[in-house]
Symmetry: C2
DNA sequence: CAGCATCCTAGCAGATACTG
DNA sequence: CAGTATCTGCTAGGATGCTG
C-alpha cells in the first residue's frame, strides 16, 4: 500500500470507482508535477535544465517533487560520477504511459478555460 | 481570469504546455471531487444521496466541493421549492465532457497501482 | 552542479454545533 | 432535508542558508 496522504481520497472503505482517479491525482497532483512531467515528456533533462525551465520553482520543491515522482516509478534519476556532478531525469516506461492521460487533461483544461473565460488565449499543447 | 490559487501552477509567466493540466487539476483536484464526479457521472443525485454514498465526508466538505464544481460550471444545482427541501445535483454538458479525461485518469491509476503494488485488487471502473 | 536542513505560514480540511 | 457557522489542527509548500 502506498503512503496514505490525508489529501488523498483513496482509502480501503472507498475502494470504488474513484480510487483509480485518486491514485492518479496523488501521482501528478503536486504543485509543480504537471510542469515537470510536461517537460520530461519531451526529453531527458538534467537538474539545472529543469530548474531553469520552470520559472519560480525553488530547490526544495523541485527536489521533493522529483523524489516523489521517482518513488511512484514514473521518473528515473541517473547520477553520473563526474565533477561537477551531472544528474539526469527521464520518464520511465510507466511515466511515458501517462501521455494519453496527460493529453486528455491538457485538452479538457484548455477547453474549459475557453468556456469559463472565452477571451483567454487558447494555447494548445502538442504531446 | 479565474481566481488564482497559490496551489495552482497556472500563471501568466508559465502559460505553456502545463497550463491546461493545471486548470484541469484545479477543477477536479479537490479532496472529494473525484468521488463526487464519479457518482454524478452515472446519475443525478440529491444532496442526501451524495452524502450517504460518500462515506466519511462531512457536510462542510460536501457543500464546499459542490459549490466549487458549480462555480467551474461542471455541476448544476437545482432547488425544488417543496417541504422538506429537495436539491438535486447533476453534471452540465461541460461536466459530462470530462468523461474521457476521467476515464483516462481512472485507467492509468488502476494500472499504476498494479505496477507499484501488484498484489492490490484490480478494480476496473466503467465510465 | 545538485542538492539538504531549518524555519515558517497560508489555507485546506476535520470536528462540532446550530438553522430555515 | 439541506445546509451554515465557528474553531482548530495539520501539512503542503515557500524562503533562506549551507555543502559534497
Amino acid at each position: 500500500m502506498r503512503k496514505e496522504s490525508s489529501t488523498n481520497a483513496f482509502n480501503e472503505k472507498q475502494i470504488n470507482d474513484s480510487c483509480g482517479m485518486a491514485y492518479s491525482l496523488s501521482v501528478l497532483g503536486g504543485r509543480w508535477k504537471p510542469a515537470i512531467l510536461c517537460r520530461l515528456m519531451h526529453q531527458t533533462m538534467r537538474y539545472s535544465d529543469l530548474k531553469n525551465s520552470i520559472d519560480q520553482i525553488s530547490e526544495r520543491m523541485l527536489v521533493s517533487q522529483l523524489r516523489e515522482l521517482e518513488a511512484d516509478l514514473v521518473v528515473k534519476r541517473t547520477v553520473y560520477p563526474v565533477v561537477p556532478p551531472r544528474v539526469e531525469y527521464e520518464l520511465t516506461e510507466l511515466g511515458l504511459s501517462m501521455r494519453p492521460m496527460l493529453k486528455a487533461m491538457s485538452d479538457w483544461g484548455n477547453m474549459h478555460r475557453s468556456k469559463v473565460n472565452p477571451e483567454a488565449d487558447v494555447v494548445v499543447s502538442e504531446f
